[in-house]
């Protein structure tokens, strides 16, 4: 009986959690130009309008480029850090690892401001590469968390066994470590990609003449007549995010199962 009250509470909570997102498709297909009840007719014209805005397409391309590059770089750094922290001991380990993970607990505006200051002082331009630098910084702690779990669930004696059977360190990595860690790598890539695609404040500060998608979205929010198109865009983005994250979760679980480990139920 206590469970039933609790269960009801949790369902209400979930409804509260998902409610705003549910509004997106509701109004994306609504022909009314104001986001309010009552609903008017069904239409797909807002999606069609989206396909005509070339500035939007440019922003999407910019975001995709930044997200892919950031994901690859953050995952690579994550592999290094995960290997270092699970396979080796080095002096100052806790301090160094703590510092690398610091962006997780820094408000993003601080990161954005700090990078802006350095870029201004050094005379480097803002723009795509500045944004990539910032995104790699905030994505790396996430990739480290995922990859640390992937490497930790790997029995260390598997690598020793491969060496015992005659393989060099590099060959061991290629034949044993990498195949067992690939699902974790894919998961890390997808997570970083998603974080970068959605990230706003760093891009807002550091983007130059080529805005990312969220920055462009921000500018769209100023114009009321663009709001239904925003809803349509939002619907697409949400669907894509959910799909990406489902795939990432699938790979994360597969990685752990493949290496014979136990699932602790989440990235964190």
């Amino acid at each position: 009986m206590k469970a039933r009250g609790l269960r009801a509470y949790v369902w209400v909570y979930l409804i509260f959690l998902y409610a705003p997102i549910v509004l997106l498709p509701l109004f994306a297909f609504n022909s009314g130009s104001v986001i309010a009840f009552p609903l008017a007719d069904f239409t797909t014209k807002w999606f069609v309008e989206l396909s005509r805005i070339s500035a939007l397409h440019a922003a999407v391309r910019t975001s995709l480029f930044i997200a892919v590059v950031s994901a690859v770089l953050a995952t690579t750094l994550g592999v290094f850090a995960a290997m270092a922290s699970t396979r080796a001991r080095f002096p100052g380990q806790r301090g160094i690892m703590g510092f690398i993970m610091l962006p997780l607990v820094l408000p993003e505006i601080i990161v954005a401001v700090a990078l802006l200051v350095v870029i201004l002082r050094l005379g480097l331009g803002t723009g795509t590469w500045a944004v990539i630098a910032g995104h790699v910084l905030i994505c790396t702690p996430f990739t480290i968390a995922i990859l640390r779990a992937a490497f930790a669930s790997l029995d260390a004696s598997l690598e020793e066994a491969a060496q015992d059977l005659g393989e060099s360190r590099l060959a061991t990595f290629r034949l044993v470590t990498l195949p067992l860690v690939i699902p974790g790598i894919i998961s890390a890539l997808l997570i970083s990609f998603t974080i970068s695609m959605d990230e706003f404040i760093i891009a807002f500060f550091l983007t130059g003449t080529e805005p990312t998608l969220p920055v462009y979205l921000w500018s769209m929010l100023r114009f009321p007549q663009q709001l239904p198109a925003v809803m349509a865009l939002g619907t697409i983005l949400v669907v894509l995010s959910v799909l990406l994250i489902t795939v990432a979760e699938y790979f994360r679980r597969r990685g752990i199962a493949r290496a014979g480990g136990q699932d602790s139920g989440g990235f964190l």
Binding site: D155, A162, Q163, D164, L165, G166, E167, L175, A259, G260
Partner: protein, 365 residues
């Protein structure tokens, strides 16, 4: 062993981790074709020693040589040893056949020969036909055999086994013990086994090195280790032993006279004592099965002492009695085979304990 050809020689091997000394000067020679065990409680350094032979740990001092070649600077993947890991380390992303054939990747054998070698290795460990199975679908005992096959297929000079049976249940363990012995005789190479189970070491080994705290306490055949432990610690670690305080009264060439609490005075042979035994306080050890309870009249040449049954432990095939004897501070353990017609005594019954001075071991520590 008729001709002893050394295959592994360790001299002065030490290993430190910062201030912690895992190995404190190990000198050891292991012969080709021996089944050699490193036995000791956890933390004694036996696994560390095995890993220095395998090449996974560098030595802090001293020298490891295999087949006459100094292994300094030689990494694990280039040593003529192969290891069966405690966790078996079976590659989960490969099939059984791919696991067994893993070490053959770098050899120039034609593929058909490799496949044949894998089949032979699997047959040798009793897993013929398992090649196509996924490695994750195996039981503990099967994984262990795959690990064995994977190591043996490379025909190493020395096979290293790190507590290979500790994860198996009792019946499986006993089965694998005789399998490993059979395998070793069949293949003929040197096996070095690390275990904390003294029964296991006694059953399987040609020679055993007992280790405590990074040092070898005694290196001997199982028989010598059991019958003539050099120290109380070794005596207590292998099997069960009663320890009684004693005094050495006289040393006369090959004969030593001792006075034992509760048992009285007797004479023992010098080979039952450590070298350099002298007059003074000492202790003697005697194994429970070397004592007997008199169920009939005591023979004229036998020595006996009267006591009372303090505790009875019935094991089915044996009964272990704790007998309280006047003059002894603690009861003495006596084990008797359960035979038809022989009663099992109760607590409080009177009992006479028959003992033989030839079964005593003298300790000066």
């Amino acid at each position: 062993m008729s001709d002893f050809k050394p295959i592994i020689a360790l001299s002065g091997v030490q290993k430190h981790y910062g201030a912690y000394h895992a190995l404190r000067g190990i000198d050891l020679t292991i012969g080709a074709g021996e089944f050699f065990s490193l036995l000791g409680p956890s933390g004694c350094g036996k696994t560390t020693l095995l890993r220095t032979i395998a090449g996974f740990e560098d030595v802090s001092a001293g020298c490891v040589s295999i087949a006459g070649v100094d292994m300094e600077g030689v990494p694990a993947n280039r040593r003529p040893t192969n290891m069966v890991f405690q966790s078996y380390a079976i590659f989960p992303h490969l099939s059984v056949a791919q696991n067994v054939g893993f070490g053959l990747r770098r050899s120039k054998m034609p593929r058909a020969d490799k496949a044949r070698a894998v089949d032979e290795a699997l047959a040798m460990v009793g897993l013929a036909g398992y090649g196509a199975r996924s490695a994750t679908a195996l039981s503990g005992g099967q994984r262990q055999r795959v690990a064995l096959a994977r190591a043996l297929i490379l025909k190493p000079k020395v096979l290293l086994l790190d507590e290979p049976l500790s994860a198996l249940d009792k019946k499986m363990r006993e089965q694998m013990q005789s399998e490993l012995r059979r395998l070793q005789r069949q293949v003929g190479i040197t096996f070095i086994l690390v275990t904390h189970d003294q029964e296991e070491a006694l059953i399987m080994s040609d020679r055993i090195a007992v280790m405590f705290e990074g040092e070898i306490a005694q290196l001997a055949t199982p028989q010598m280790l059991y019958r003539r432990p050099l120290s109380r610690r070794v005596g207590a670690f292998i099997g069960m032993m009663n320890f009684l305080p004693a005094d050495v009264r006289a040393v006369d060439g090959d004969t030593i006279t001792v006075e034992i609490a509760g048992l009285g005075r007797c004479m023992i042979d010098a080979e039952q004592a450590p070298a350099g035994a002298g007059i003074g306080t000492a202790s003697v050890g005697i194994r429970p099965e070397m004592l007997a309870i008199a169920f009939g009249p005591v023979g004229a040449n036998e020595r006996s002492i009267n006591g009372m049954v303090a505790e009875v432990n019935y094991y089915g095939d044996m009964t272990f009695y704790d007998i309280a004897i006047p003059g002894m501070s603690a009861p003495i353990a006596v084990s008797m085979k359960n035979m038809p017609g022989r009663p099992v005594l109760d607590r409080g019954d009177a009992a006479s304990v028959i003992w033989d001075p030839r079964a005593l071991v003298l300790f000066m520590d």
